[in-house]
Symmetry: D2
Subunit: 304 residues, 4 copies
């Protein structure tokens, strides 16, 4: 049976670009890690070593920098849409492009109660993400966040589970629930032209709103399992926002084990915990609308 | 539009199990990081918080340990097949299981020219991987390696590429080519019964053989691009082994930039390089047979 | 020449203890990573394998948990002082103890504008640190912070430096200055009894105050070099606080290189930067009082 | 009390330089991570922002590259001695220099049983280290290794230890002993001129010999504690080599806990272990000669 090239892609990963917006003395900074990947008819590069259709990854890096200049303070979503569409629309052999952005938030340093004009401290909480996939006639935007670490010190139980002959876990009606959330949501309900046109404010507002919805639901759900918490968080976003088509959540269960203090003559009523590293539970969920429009390109994992 | 639960899974990740085989004074050690994930009808756990169908991730961890005892020195592939089939065949609500294993190699310490019976030093080179996906009537084995770092100090060029108005890269006919390989190959040509039955020797021999094939091809191909090198490596495996259906390769291009020594009055004819961290090119390829049988479950990324 | 055992220590590192203070429905959490190390006459353990004087590291771990229970919401400094003094005062062979604590800050999740009673999100900014060294008649407290990432988008220059025949750097009067600060300060001006007796509020207030002083000075100094900025930051702390004897600062210079956009027909007036990973400058400074009392034990690096 | 600048240093960290030696078709590669730090009278840079005495860290980076060219295949020790002496001897304000090198080993890829001329695979085992400190009239060389992971599956016990009221550990006469070694040894018995003059072969042979001595002693000592094992390893080096003045060892005790399989109806006679991450024991030791000549500069931790 003959051998052939299957799916493939190439690009530049982790371009660490910092954009300083300095039109006024009150600077802004956008701190991003940008990765690009292209698909198209690149078989000759693989099979014959012929690079005639290959736009170098070095050029993709240059393009990230040039667009960072041109797009000024554009939010990550607009930046990624513009880059992805450029590769597909302007570079002849490219049929699909994916642009991924991680964004690190900074706040102004306070001096005498006033936020400073050009000095910043990194917030360090979650990383904001967006992945844009562009095809010939479609652009999808999947935004999200990662490394958002949350914990409930009560209001979580785990009981009534399936027991087999290897089960030793005891049920508990009060435990610490902690996780490091990775959540992604797909924007929909607009066509790609719309997507590129929304204003700065709308993307940033949406992000802040969805983060707040996720956190609030995590806080208020009395959790019977991490599964249930994820479902409720995803549902909260879909109920509140028509512009989100689906929500994907990945959550490691960061186990906090009650330390047995009995041998030391002490009680431990949910007060002292060992935060364990490995192993950890890993729970995933997609929460979607019943008639969610298909979005193969936005979610498809490119070969990797 | 009503909201529903889409695809989902749950499991235990990174169970760090070390198996000592000590039937004789000449011990062996198997050092593994095992992750399990289950699919099935778990909607009640998400939507109602009802755990009646949920085998705890803690039990999955226990099962890893119990099988490590029972399966003795079984290679990673047999171990993962047994675990995955157990979850699907023996646990009522489970419809699919994925078991992933990372294995770390050790060699015996030499004392006076003799390998020691029970003292070992970790090799530290690549990590051997296997991912087994089990459904009701099918078991797929995808093995591989990751973090295999290779470098050619010559025998690599990059010329004749596409140039647009943002291209500044100069062609080169002699460069350092370096990458950290992640390669996965799907075993096929046997049914799932076969897969579970192969002997220890066959899995380990296959692994050693494929690693050697990949390295040798990397070494001998005069590279016109990393794309070409990946294609040739994948092709080498498919040509040599009927039991492999497809090969997937992911390779970051670890750029080694020639340092400009002109300002210091020195020539640099490919002698002094800066090994850069970020950004890096990222090249991916699937190399497959023309009539490769479909294997959705083995490759499908579970929701994450 | 005979061979002998020189300095030595042993202990338990990275006990990840989470303390939930739940006296009222408004919980608090203290999330810490605690390491202990002991010195004393442990030569027999090394030379003869005789453990009679060796308190197991497992016991040290137990002690961390027991003290976490007993000390309730005590700040890291009090917690570490109590632990260190216990080892020296209560365990016969121990002559010196060092207890190091990393503390991770959390804030309450907001729900409808109100901070939640028992749901938290990790802040993720800097890590608060304290290292307490206890000897027979002395206890020293060195507190600090690490991973505090700061950046000035202007107000930084680097000119007039020494030039030798290998210097190619061009002076600049406007650059991005960024670093990830590690700062430690030694409390003094009280004896060890005092140190153990200060109230919760004083340690936490001191920490908040010193962090604010460091940030404000970083923001307001027009920097002629990172060296100068460090000096000014340390000086600000000593000027403001009599209870601090010396300040030690370590700061990697996280280079942000201006991207040359000329080849792309664009100007770059300090707007687009590449945030580089390696290499990086590394600047250190001790800022102290002229008649600083010696503190060998507090700063001495234990053998490692 | 007036405030003053205490000890301080500055330099360039983690210059990732790869040297290809290509005098013949059989290439060699030296893959290193080089850090430099300088001391001297740099107070003006801190206090006044005056850089007139400051050789930029960028220049230090350039110097690393230039010396990598000039010194060809010199071993890490010679390379670091030459660099450190250059800074002290040739740069007027510099009074002391420390050069640290991490070196990553590669081996040739085998093709048809023959080692390839210019294709390599990274070994990935331990990292070889050297730190050279140069003062006006003295040069010290401390070499070592880090991340050498070793394990004994038997031949290790831990009994007879001190028991207090918080001790719960049970003694064991057969356990897994595993650690990730960091060892440093100081060369002595020659003056600094000698140090700079030794030939390539001698440094590399010493390294290979000492690594072998450490491993063999780890393997053959029946361990009553990790402390004892470290002592024996250090002693083995001093006994075998007159040119080593002292050995420093740091060893995390990577706990391997026997998994309790009783609840699953299985015995576990030292066969199945959980390799835990945190917390871990941490043992340190200095092994030295009775009349070891003092070496303050070589070991002194620079302010950090």
């Amino acid at each position: 049976v003959p051998i052939r090239l299957g799916s493939n892609s190439y690009g530049k990963s982790e371009v660490r670009v910092v954009r300083v917006v300095r039109d006024t003395p009150r600077h802004r900074i956008l701190d991003r890690n940008v990765s690009t990947a292209l698909q198209g008819d690149f078989a000759a590069a693989y099979i014959d070593g012929d690079q005639a259709q290959v736009l170098p990854t070095d050029t993709q890096k240059n393009t990230v920098y040039a667009y960072a200049k041109d797009l000024q303070a554009a939010p990550a979503e607009d930046f990624a849409v513009a880059l992805a569409r450029h590769f597909v629309d302007d570079v002849e052999p490219v049929r699909g492009a994916r642009v991924s952005v991680e964004e690190y938030a900074w706040e102004r340093i306070e001096v005498d109660g006033e936020p400073h004009q050009h000095s910043f401290v990194r917030l360090g909480q979650e990383v904001r993400t967006t992945t844009v996939t562009a095809g010939s006639d479609r652009t999808d935007v999947v935004s999200g966040l990662t490394d958002l670490v949350v914990l409930k010190s009560t209001g979580s139980e785990f009981t009534g589970f399936l027991v087999d002959e290897l089960t030793t876990l005891q049920p508990t009606d009060d435990r610490v629930l902690a996780t490091s959330l990775t959540v992604r949501w797909r924007y929909a309900g607009r066509d790609s032209a719309d997507l590129a046109d929304v204003t700065d404010a709308r993307w940033d507002e949406a992000y802040a709103n969805i983060k707040a919805l996720l956190l609030a639901r995590f806080a208020t759900v009395h959790s019977k399992a991490l599964q249930q918490t994820l479902w409720e968080m995803g549902r909260a976003v879909l109920e509140a926002r028509d512009d989100v088509a689906e929500v994907r959540l990945v959550a490691p269960n960061r186990h906090h084990f009650v330390v047995d203090l009995d041998p030391f003559g002490r009680e431990n009523a949910g007060e002292v915990f060992h935060a364990d590293d490995r192993p950890y539970g890993l729970i995933t969920a997609v929460v979607e609308r019943d008639e969610v429009p298909p979005a193969p390109e936005a979610w498809a994992e490119w070969p990797a």
